[in-house]
């Protein structure tokens, strides 16, 4: 006697039934007396018979059903056929697979939090809302940073631009994901792109306000670099989660390496420059200028200011 599991897929979904099989066998059909009941109008009351041979093999037999059955796509006749575990049996609109209950199942797959994130937006209304918010945030932030009067067509172009970007991103990466991971995850990539747009724009404004209040070009530049590097790593790790099957550790490592080398490449020109090449006859100070409402730091008195400015004279020549 063997303990087996039947996985039955019909129009209502998948159901699992465990049963014991001996030489006497079990009946599969629409009849209420069947051992495995199939509720499918194209299935006969007594449709299939599964039994165990003396030497322990599984034998499957079609009981001259009206619409017949298929084993792995081949028609099953009245004769008994050997059944190999996990093969597809089709009867009517129903698909059955048998598994050995004693064979241990695969270890649980790791459930990445990236998929939890994507599934928060699994319904169409929430996905649509997220997309609208992303386009809106991007357009507003873009508009705040221009020095031109607000114009409707510019706003529309900006919104359309970011939507096109999200679409292309999802399609291209979705295609790559299909190749690498076997599933496109286009919807998850879409969610990631929308979130990325929102985060990047919020960062931009937050950094602008911070740098305006810091008024220190060197520190300000590092704030920008570190914030956007962190953002880029986050985005890359998310992307790798959807398009590849890398382990969490590997994802972070690769993302970090990509971001660091990209930054190094961008800055290499500056870093390799001789001191006389970077000499300028103009000043370099924090460019960020914002309205009075966004000034959060306390001002100093003129005396304090001048005392601090005296240090400029004592600077060592570079």
């Amino acid at each position: 006697m063997r303990s087996l599991v039947a996985q039955i897929t019909d129009k209502d979904g998948v159901r699992i039934q465990r049963f014991n099989l001996d030489q006497q066998g079990i009946s599969i059909g629409r009849s209420w007396n069947s051992d495995i009941i199939i509720q499918d109008r194209f299935v006969d009351a007594e449709h299939l018979h599964l039994s165990l041979s003396d030497d322990g093999k599984l034998l499957l037999e079609d009981l001259s059903s009206t619409n017949g059955s298929q084993l792995n796509g081949r028609s099953l006749r009245a004769t008994q056929k050997n059944y190999a575990l996990e093969s597809d049996v089709r009867l009517g609109d129903t698909l059955i697979r048998f598994f050995d209950a004693d064979v241990s199942v695969a270890p649980a797959a790791l459930r990445s939090k990236w998929f939890v994130l994507a599934e928060r937006f699994s319904s169409w209304p929430s996905l649509l809302m997220l997309t609208i918010v992303a386009a809106f945030v991007h357009t507003i932030v873009n508009e705040l940073r221009t020095t031109e009067p607000v114009q409707l067509d510019v706003l529309l172009v900006s919104a359309a631009g970011v939507l096109a970007l999200i679409l292309v991103w999802s399609l291209v990466l979705g295609f790559i994901a299909k190749l690498i991971r076997g599933e496109s995850n286009a919807r998850a990539l879409w969610v990631l792109a929308c979130l990325g747009v929102i985060v990047a724009n919020v960062f931009t404004i937050a950094i602008l306000v911070l740098r305006f209040n810091l008024q220190d070009q060197v520190v300000g530049q590092w704030v920008s670099v570190l914030c956007f590097a962190a953002f880029a790593v986050w985005l890359l790790v998310g992307t790798f989660s959807y398009i590849s099957s890398m382990s969490a550790k590997r994802k972070w490592l690769v993302s970090l390496l990509v971001v660091i080398s990209a930054y190094g490449l961008i800055r290499s020109d500056d870093l390799l420059r001789e001191p006389h090449q970077s000499w300028r006859s103009f000043t370099k100070t924090e460019a960020a200028t914002l309205p009075p409402a966004l000034l959060l730091r306390q001002g100093v008195s003129l005396d304090e200011y001048q005392n601090a400015a005296e240090d400029l004279f004592d600077a060592k020549p570079e």
């Binding site: 000043t283 009075p292 200011y305 400015a309």
Partner: protein, 434 residues
């Protein structure tokens, strides 16, 4: 007004011969000071052509002259006066240059630099084989309208005489400079300008084009000759620094101490031509109907600066006011359009100046009079030091007063000043601007 120094630099030897209209043949004899032509003697100037030497700074590596100017002998022992800027490339890099002369007859020889005055743009050189004849300085006051005869070798074409009236001292200048209405051209720098009796009244120095030329008064040249110094080449930079400091100290102190006359700017009590050597210009973009920002600006500049080299000048004093008002922009867009950076008004480079270092902060808010009167004042101070002249700094100052839709900027740019005076002048400028 943009003065051009009349020195001919390498590759610039294209030319224009100025006919000396009065120059007619007359021989001169004598072996002491050159005889004087009479006022009505139009034939007497020929002898003066011989008195002009072409001064060449030669770069031995290139084997050719890198700049030319003119000069004239002022003593029996062979002292020759020219402009500092004629020999500036030698002063800035003595190891890479030497100074030569070429006389009217084509005779060549070497010259030794004894002394210079970067403020008045003069230099004294010693002639290895002095001529028995030389020019004397005039002791008479030069009358306005009096004819002056300037001699020099424009663009290496040959010694020329240019005649024109003296128009007195240049206005808007801290240093005395004679305004001479004659066409001085490159190469004539350092040549003598004599009066009708053949005495030196000035030294050719610069032109602003169209018969607007400038002479250094003879007194400055005489002072330099009488000082009878010989500066060691190792001390050139220290000497330049000391001359600039000596000149700047009273020039800047006067600005710190004096009251600045009130002039209106964009409805505020400010200042403008704070001394006779300052000139101001203003402009608005009112006529531009498509402007997003309405701007009114005014800039003022002192008439003098010190030329040290083709890539280095010092001593500029400049300030400006800008009033900007958003016409079509909201306050975020308006402030985004503000780019708070400044650049030097004097030319320099890596070899001569450090990079600017800046200090930025916001000034303690005065109590806003109304709720919607929120504003702030940001001050930026930037300093760079002269590498070869320790103790002298260039300074840039910017004061921005920003409320939602209006910005007022006042900017001060001063060059080659010692630190105590920079702090004091900046302080005064901030207080007068607020």
């Amino acid at each position: 007004m943009d003065k051009k120094r009349i020195i001919a630099v390498l590759n610039f030897a294209v030319c224009l011969w100025l006919y000396g209209l009065q120059a007619q043949a007359q021989s001169i004899g004598g072996d002491s000071a050159t005889p004087r032509p009479g006022d009505n003697d139009t034939q007497s100037f020929e002898a003066y052509y011989d008195q002009v030497y072409q001064i060449r700074v030669v770069s031995p590596q290139a084997g050719s002259k890198s700049s030319i100017g003119s000069g004239f002998q002022v003593s029996s022992d062979g002292l020759i006066v020219t402009n500092y800027h004629v020999v500036s490339s030698f002063v800035q890099a003595p190891q890479n240059h030497r100074i030569e002369y070429q006389s009217h007859t084509g005779q060549k020889g070497s010259l030794e630099l004894l002394d210079f005055d970067v403020i008045h743009d003069l230099a004294v050189l010693r002639h290895s084989s002095p001529s028995p004849r030389y020019l004397e300085f005039s002791s008479d006051l030069l009358a306005k309208g009096e004819t002056v005869y300037a001699l020099g070798n424009p663009r290496d074409f040959g010694t020329s005489l240019v005649k024109g009236p003296n128009n007195g001292m240049v206005e808007h200048s801290y240093n005395d400079q004679i305004l001479f209405s004659g066409s001085l051209n490159p190469g004539m720098s350092g040549g003598p300008a004599v009066n009708a009796s053949g005495r030196v009244v000035g030294v050719n120095v610069a032109t602003a084009g169209s018969q607007l030329s400038f002479l250094v008064p003879a007194k400055n040249a005489l002072d330099l000759v009488n000082a009878a110094r010989a500066i060691d080449r190792a001390d050139y930079q220290a000497e330049i620094a000391s001359q600039i400091k000596q000149w700047q100290r009273p020039r800047v102190q006067e600005l710190i101490d004096n009251d600045w006359a009130v002039e209106k700017f964009a409805g505020n009590d400010l200042f403008g031509e704070i001394r006779k050597d300052f000139q101001c210009w203003g402009q608005t973009n009112e006529s531009n109907k498509e402007r997003d920002i309405a701007s009114v600006s005014k800039s003022c500049r002192a008439g003098n600066s010190v030329y040290l080299d083709s890539s280095l000048s010092a001593g500029e004093l400049y300030f400006s006011f800008d009033h900007l008002r958003a016409v079509t922009l909201n306050s975020l867009q308006f402030t985004s359009a503000i780019r708070p950076w400044m650049s030097a008004n004097n030319s320099s480079n890596y070899d001569n100046s450090t990079s600017y270092r800046c200090h930025v902060d916001f000034l303690e808010g005065e109590e806003p009079s109304q709720k919607n009167d929120a504003h702030y004042t940001r001050i930026t101070t930037c300093i760079r030091e002269f590498k070869k002249m320790p103790g002298l700094y260039d300074s840039l100052l910017m004061l921005e007063r920003i409320n939602g839709l209006e910005q007022f900027v006042s900017h001060l740019s001063i060059s080659a000043i010692e630190r105590d005076q920079i702090s004091q002048l900046n302080r005064k400028f901030i207080e007068e601007s607020l």
